[in-house]
Amino acid sequence: MKRKGVYESLIGELARLPGVGRKNAQRLAFAIMRLDPERARRLGQSIIDARASVRPCARCNNATDQELCEICANPRRDTTRIMVVEDPGTLHQIEHTRTYRGLYHVLTGVLSPLEVVGPEAVDPGPLKARLADGEVREVILATSPTVEGEATALFVTRELKPLGVAVSRIAYGVPVGMDLEFADEVSLIKAIEGRHAV
């Protein structure tokens, strides 16, 4: 009986992680149960270490265990561009594509119109401070094309425009592999607006 309790609580903890869900949690828990004890110990220890040492990067808010994150500390990154993202997860997803060599800025909150959360949720100060020395030429907004992401992008744009820096937003539109005929109106409009010369 006790064994079942431990197993259930592991599933419960895993299922509470974003994007996992009950079924995946069961699968993961089952895999963890079959690890040899030393590997299980290392997994547990790395979770504890990560949680204890991770903090926001002093410059960009990315998750790091140093004062500055790997990206900010890398002298080969293009320091004239900053890409604004909603969370470190999005940053890592974009890094994974290996198409962007500039810097990032992770926002500490998003506007959420449906929950009546307005501009008070986002402090634009730290981002504006990074633009003060004039080295940054372009700020690229990479927020999701959701209500929250779009409201946040509109707000950040409004804050940055007076500073004279070029503000762009990544293109949105029809996902790869989708038939245009089935695209909804908003996605089509976004795709047309975001067109580029070929």
Binding site: A15, S112, L114, E115, V116, V117
Partner: protein
């Protein structure tokens, strides 16, 4: 419970695990409905982006687990309002309107609420209309839809029509100078006129000044809270 095929406006969503969301829909025949939309955040999932807030969609709902909870089987966009997503004040106004529609969606006639909400969102997407008057008008019309419209033509306490100088939250309406008590708000003639413009059925709300409209919207929200104890799905900033 059988399947329901209906028009709907998504007024609220909460992330569940993975790409699933719990959506709050305002529908013409059933008022507020809650439904689980599986895979709604996935670009190539069966629901795609069809359930994005602020637009009108057509949904097929099946009975879900739990009392009064449905499952979205299919969704299609019927009418998008892209202008709402291109302007921050319009977007915040639309968010507030949707949040209140969701909070009070079980009160009154669903069909009327749906029409009012639809009409309001279209108004917010129209650049000619300023945001604050549209929102103020929505909130005061919502008091009517929800069955708690304030008495504006005479004193709510003694029923005399003259010398109305205050506003009483409960039971709701103007009060005359004689009946006015502690706790009633001062309501000068100009405020009374603006309140009538927002609440009554004609085009007068269009002429409301933005400042006055914002005050009326704040008053309406306080009023709705007093009457329903309802509050918005507010997320801490």
């Amino acid at each position: 419970m059988t399947w329901i095929d209906t028009a709907a406006i998504n007024v609220g969503q909460r992330h569940l695990s993975g790409a699933d969301r719990l959506v709050t829909l305002i529908t013409p025949a059933h008022g507020r409905m809650r439904a689980v939309a599986r895979g709604v955040c996935l670009p190539r999932g069966p629901l795609g982006g069809a359930l994005e807030p602020f637009g009108v969609c057509r949904v097929v709902l099946a009975p879900g687990r739990g009392d009064g909870l449905y499952r979205v089987e299919a969704a299609d966009r019927v009418r998008d309002l892209p202008a709402l997503r291109a302007d921050l004040p319009s977007m915040l106004g639309a968010g507030l309107v949707c949040a209140w529609a969701g909070a009070l969606g079980r009160e009154g006639d669903g069909r009327v609420l749906y029409r009012l909400l639809h009409h309001t969102l279209v108004g917010l997407a129209r650049p000619a209309d300023a945001v604050a008057p549209v929102v103020a008008r929505f909130l005061w019309r919502l008091t009517l839809v929800a069955g708690v419209a304030p008495e504006l033509g005479c004193c709510v306490a003694c029923r005399t029509p003259g010398d109305l100088t205050g506003f009483r939250m409960l039971p709701g309406g103007m009060v005359c100078a004689l009946c006015r008590a502690d706790g009633d708000l001062a309501m000068p003639p100009r405020g009374h006129a603006a309140l009538c413009a927002a609440a009554l059925e004609d085009g007068a709300w269009r002429s409301l000044a933005p400042d006055s409209a914002r005050r009326l919207a704040a008053l309406a929200q306080g009023y709705l809270r007093r009457h329903f104890g309802a509050d918005l799905p507010r997320r801490a900033p």
